[in-house]
């Protein structure tokens, strides 16, 4: 069985990443795709980058997110609290790790899949794909049946209901959704390290390539431990489960 684990917005949260990788392994995942924002906000960037690099060396896919780009290169006009976390992350990472983050592609296409952190329409503009119109733009640019993204920090599924028209669907965690190749799909897999759905459980998704079924998952983990580390590191107190 070919089972692809889709993980996005890890945000240097080691506890959440461990929990999702364990869940994916136990579910029989055979391949991994990391959809960007490996770092930023969280307290374990070095370890998280190391784990992802190890997976990539073994055949996993990884694309760059805005935080990865900001840490590796230049951070544009962004909020001071985010600036602060970017500076802290730069200090916490080796030059080699930063160079690796900087070398990640913005968008990867493989067979019938497009992997991109934000929108395939203009990956470098970090647009939030959170409505059917923007999902259609991304799907059109991808030109493939399945586009997998993150960035929104919420699990969403967009699908082509009739030619040229996208609809959105709120996926139910743990429930396999048939996503047939005959229409276009844009799946926003949610965030491993910083979900913003008033539920601290880590989010990711598993795609069964043979049966063409996508299952969104929520994985509870010790989020209080991750929060303690963030505070102990002196990082800004932007707990996802307390933010609106």
């Amino acid at each position: 069985m070919l089972l692809l684990a889709l993980l996005s917005d890890l945000h240097a949260n080691l506890e959440a990443l461990d929990a999702c990788l364990k869940h994916a392994r136990e579910s029989g995942a055979t391949r991994y795709a990391f959809l960007g924002d490996l770092v930023g906000y969280g307290a374990d960037p070095a370890l998280v980058v190391e784990i992802v690099r190890r997976h990539v060396a073994e055949g996993a896919l990884a694309v760059q997110g805005n935080h990865d780009a900001w840490v590796a290169k230049y951070a544009g006009a962004i909020a001071e609290s985010v600036q602060q976390s970017i500076r802290w992350t730069r200090d916490a990472l080796s030059a080699d790790a930063k160079a690796w983050l900087g070398s990640l592609p913005l968008c990867l296409r493989e067979e019938a899949f497009c992997f991109v952190h934000a929108s395939a329409a203009a990956p470098e503009r970090w647009e939030y794909v959170d409505d059917p119109r923007l999902a259609k733009k991304s799907a059109d640019a991808a030109g493939l049946p399945w586009t997998f993204s993150g960035h929104v920090h919420r699990q969403m599924l967009f699908f082509e209901a009739s030619p040229g028209k996208m609809w959105s669907f709120d996926p139910v965690p743990g429930s396999a959704v048939p996503v047939r190749r005959s229409r276009r799909w844009v799946a926003i897999v949610g965030s491993v390290g910083q979900p913003r759905e008033r539920n601290p459980a880590a989010a990711y998704a598993l795609f069964d390539l043979e049966r063409e079924k996508l299952t969104f998952h929520r994985v509870p983990y010790d989020h209080l431990a991750a929060a303690r580390k963030i505070r102990a590191a002196g990082l800004p107190d932007l707990l996802p489960w307390s933010s609106p």
Binding site: L157, F159, A161, S162, K165, W167, F169, V172, S175, V177, P178, R180, R181, S182
Partner: protein, 473 residues
Amino acid sequence: MSVPTERLRAGELIDDFLVWEGVHPGAHGVVYRVTGRDTGFPLLMKVPRLQAGDSAGPLLNYETEAMILPALSGPHVPRFVAAGDIRRMPYVVLEWIEGQNLESQLARCPMPAEEVARIGAAIADALHSLHRQGAVHCDLKPDNVILRPTGEAVLIDFGLAWHARFPDLLAEEKLFAAGSAPYISPEQLLGVRGDARSDVFSLGVVLYELATGELPFGIPASTGGLRQRLWMDPDPPTLLSSGVTPVLQEVILRCLDPQVAQRYQSAAHLAFDLRQPDQVQLTSRAFKKRPAGFFTQTQRWWKARVAPIPQPPTTKRALDAAPVIMVAVDTTHSQDERQPAIQRATRQVLMLSDEFRLICVSVVKAAPLGGTGEEGASPSHLDHMVLLRNWMAPLGVPPQRLSLHVIVAPDPSGALIEFARRNNVDLIVLGAPRPSEEPLAWWRSVASSVTANAPCSVHVVRVPEPKDEPSRS
């Protein structure tokens, strides 16, 4: 997309399945009897009807059914066996249900009220089972109902169905199958899918048809004709058929209310009323002799034009808000110290939902055979009913939400469980002995037997142990 469009021939082999004969040109496809897998039940294959220049409709219906049916279970839906690759050869293979299609029974309309109620309750049970699984049929009509020889109803054709756990491929379409127009609910016309109460409306149309032989809104030929149901009052069924009782009219017109909030909020409540006609609270609907006057209907027409389209609650939440709760009351021992505690617990349970239905049951042991024959020695059925009513009075439950039953049976727990099963009860509230009472009291109690065998949740009520009395183990 290249999809074979020619019909299948007998003897043809499709994947694992051998085609025998075409049997039914269904609304969404052609149906064949097939064999080929050792399932232990007969099979049929449904192939979407695809003709050149056809809309995407039949393929979407096929895709929807192939997505939703595998997620459904229970005796009220055909079992799903296999689906073909949509790009190569779209088909679904399902259980062949033995029984009578309700469409074939329409020639017998108008049917007697009891028969309408019996068939209606069976369909309502089937709908409730579906709704509990998070699905809405969206295309209920006689052609999509098969009555098993046991009287159970099976729903077929899920080509237009909706399921909370799957994306709605038909959201964009606003389409309905040929032959469905007379049965479709007003909100579906406005593009609202996924409201279980739409199925209740459609069942109302079916009940009306069975009871009168007529369709409440005719066979609409145009969009304007279709939209009449947003405001039009159908002729009261009693006007069309003398066999319709006021209770049946009450039930049917409640299903057909254009406002979803005024209908039965759960198919289980509808099934209950169809089975317990003597418990139905009659309103002015029951005695209507003619449709509302021109002025009222014009007002409704205007309201329907300007009203916002109602958004459906999630099916699951709607059902959670409309539970059927059964409380077991022991009217033989009405001074029992547990009674106030059971009343308290019932009140707490009722506070959790807006649209509950409360069933109060007292099971009275049958008089022993060869008894003395002395009348008045033990309380009569009516006495128990009076006690039950008295027990309920402090709870202040409105009569349309309440029903009272005294059941005479030798085995109280068996009677309670059977009653709960037949009436789609979600929760049973009943009292239990304390642990400190005589040894084996629990094991001999009605509560233990009901808890062990109930088809639903059970709320076991106990009077707290006095602090100074150590409990026995």
